[in-house]
Amino acid sequence: MLEIILERFSYIPIIILMMTGLYVVIATGNLVKRLVGLSLFQTSVFLLYITMGKVFGGQPPIIAGDAHGGDAGHGADAAAGYGAEAAAGHAAETAHHVAEIAYSNPLPHVLILTAIVVGVATLAVGLALVVRIREAYGTIEDDALNAADYSLETGSAE
């Protein structure tokens, strides 16, 4: 039992964050706080993706160069300089490296970069809407907004 929990340790904070965020969205009547909850909820998903990319014992996903200690880009430059034969040998060497070292998966990080941008854009639009709501209604509390709309629907019928 303990082993099962420890193996999945990384999910515990994620689930806590996720539920906290969702709870805040549902429970609060303040529009700004609701957006805070929403961001928290989204952030938990970012973490879910990031932890997904971790491989136990995995290296950072940078293809290590040869003895010169260069990176892949450097290797490619060198290969261009030394001609086709050297390039082929170099490629084989790089492939060899890749085969023996376990790398963490970089893709989820890239995905999450996009998702963060989406999250920021959503938050920005949400906050802009809250500003406009405050200008139009003079409040950002849900109850007060509903009351204002309700009186609009019933009271001021032409």
């Binding site: 529009l31 998702a115 989406v118 406009r132 139009a136």
Partner: protein, 508 residues
């Protein structure tokens, strides 16, 4: 079809799948810099025409040459991002492209009336972003890309809905609520995609399906299924998750409502079909169970409850918005049958519903443009003052009920046939009852328009107002005419729907 395929020079036709998304995105930036609303509208119109032509061309290419797979940036799938067009998403592309074009023509007078002058260019820009997002969701073959495009379209949708605040401040709260719920939906969807990625190690939809078929399903993929269904269900206004829709449709600018009602939920529904049928196979145990116990049940409940709610609305657009929720219920029911016949009925209803609701919301927009009316009782006597718009409205609303001689009848006919094939008598009964409820709410609108006399002081239209509406009237009448035309010439739409169902169900 050959004619459509050779609509564009080969050099452009090859890149059509990419261009159809890229052009609106770039033009959105161009439109934002236009100094006048009219110019921005011109940019939007040119873009919409280009997209409509491209979508026709893609239809031609797919019908003659089969599935198009476009490797974005030359990176081959599954590693690269793939744009993939088959018979399932071609109808959606056509729908978004052509209805989008009609809506854009309609937009000029409507937007000029509703949006402040200096905001118009930005408004059109946001609309183009939304347009690009919807096309992107439809055309992409990459699961994470679906999320990104879904959010591109949603975020711009929140802003253009909020622009209705010039007429009614409730547009702001409607938009805010949509933002919160839409974001929760998108996040649920992305959690689901994450789980699928964990289980399969790929993001390409076709590849995912292949890996899942090989590896079978476990609890991770079941969780993924649940998250994706809830997430996309929220975007598609599946019944208990529809609460954002009525207010958003009721208070958005008229043009936005007409566009969204006929495209946005449809595209989300397409994405749902894509995931449920293509990624998860309908014969997998838990998917098959979800058809009967989730989609069919939710569909029937939506047909009943939302139609019932529609009957009691006072705001005309809210009434139609509830009816939209009910119509999504019809589509869910078709999907829930889990047969090719059910799915094709569902796709047919999707297209037909876009024709009806497009015309209906445009007509309500025309009424609002001339008289500023919103509530059902304010529609009184419009049959005399605005006969053409009222006629279009009448045709489309009869189609909504499913009266013979309109497309509404065709799609309901196919739905009933599919339900009978499956032996679901209760579904047929539900369809009938829901149609009667539809008759009840449509009758309220039509009796107000035709039976009642116009209140004094409304009969005289200001002469300046009479000039604008041909741009309003033309797309509206075209959609209303399509509602009748496709009853008599049902083959094109039925053929598209059948081909779509066969594309995902495989064969038969």
């Amino acid at each position: 079809m050959d004619m459509l395929a050779s609509l564009l020079p080969a050099g452009i036709a090859v890149h059509a799948p990419a261009l159809i998304v890229v052009i609106p995105l770039i033009m959105a930036a161009v439109a934002a810099f236009m100094p006048k609303g009219l110019w921005a509208w011109g940019v939007t119109l040119v873009t919409a025409i280009a997209v409509a032509v491209l979508s026709l061309n893609i239809l031609g290419q797919v019908s003659t040459g089969g599935v198009i797979s476009y490797a974005m940036g030359g990176w081959l799938p599954p590693a690269g991002i793939e744009l993939r067009v088959d018979m399932l998403n071609v109808p959606l592309l056509l729908l978004v492209g052509i209805v989008g074009l009609l809506c854009v023509i309609y937009a000029l007078p409507s937007v000029a009336d509703e949006i402040a002058k200096k905001q118009q260019a930005l408004f059109y820009s946001a609309f183009l972003v939304c347009f690009a997002g919807l096309l992107g969701v439809t055309i992409t073959g990459d699961a994470f890309n679906v999320f990104v495009f879904l959010e591109i379209s949603s975020i711009s949708t929140y802003t253009i809905i909020a622009m209705g605040a010039g007429k009614d401040r409730r547009a702001l709260t409607a938009s805010y609520n949509y933002l919160v719920l839409g974001t929760i939906g998108a996040t649920f969807f992305v959690i689901g995609v994450g789980f699928l990625y964990m289980a399969t190690g790929t993001l390409n939809i076709a590849d995912m399906a292949a890996v899942l078929e090989q590896n079978g399903h476990d609890r991770v993929t079941q969780a993924a299924f649940a998250f994706i269904v809830v997430g996309l269900g929220l975007k598609a206004a599946m019944f208990p998750l529809h609460v954002w829709l009525p207010n958003a449709y009721a208070f958005a600018p008229n043009f936005v409502t007409a566009f969204l009602a006929s495209t946005a939920t449809k595209v989300a529904f397409y994405a749902l079909i894509r995931f449920v049928f293509s990624v998860f196979h309908p014969e997998v145990n838990f998917v098959a169970m979800s058809f009967t116990w989730l989609f069919a049940v939710v569909g029937v409940v939506a047909m009943m409850v939302a139609s019932m709610q529609a009957v009691f609305q006072t705001d005309a657009r809210r009434l139609l918005a509830y009816s939209s929720v009910a119509q999504v219920g019809y589509m869910m029911l078709g999907l829930g049958m889990g047969t090719a016949a059910g799915l094709s009925a569902s796709m047919l209803h999707l297209m037909n519903h876009a024709l009806m609701k497009g015309a209906l919301f445009m007509a309500l927009g025309a009424f609002a443009l001339n008289f500023g009316v919103r509530r059902v009782k304010d529609l009184a006597g419009l049959g005399q003052t605005m006969p053409a718009s009222s006629a279009a409205f009448t045709v489309a609303s009869l189609s909504l009920v499913g009266v013979p001689l309109t497309v509404g009848f065709t799609s309901k006919w196919y739905l009933v046939t599919a339900a009978l094939e499956r032996g679901w008598w209760w579904a047929v009964a539900a369809l009938m009852i829901s149609s009667l409820l539809a008759l009840a709410y449509v009758a309220r609108l039509l009796s107000a328009i035709w039976m009642e006399t116009p209140p004094a002081g409304k009969a005289g239209i200001a002469p300046a107002r009479r000039l604008a509406p041909w741009m309003v009237l033309a797309p509206m009448s075209l959609l209303a005419f399509a509602n009748i035309y496709f009853f008599f010439h049902a083959d094109p739409l039925v053929g598209l729907a059948r081909a779509a169902a066969n594309a995902v169900m495989g064969g038969n």
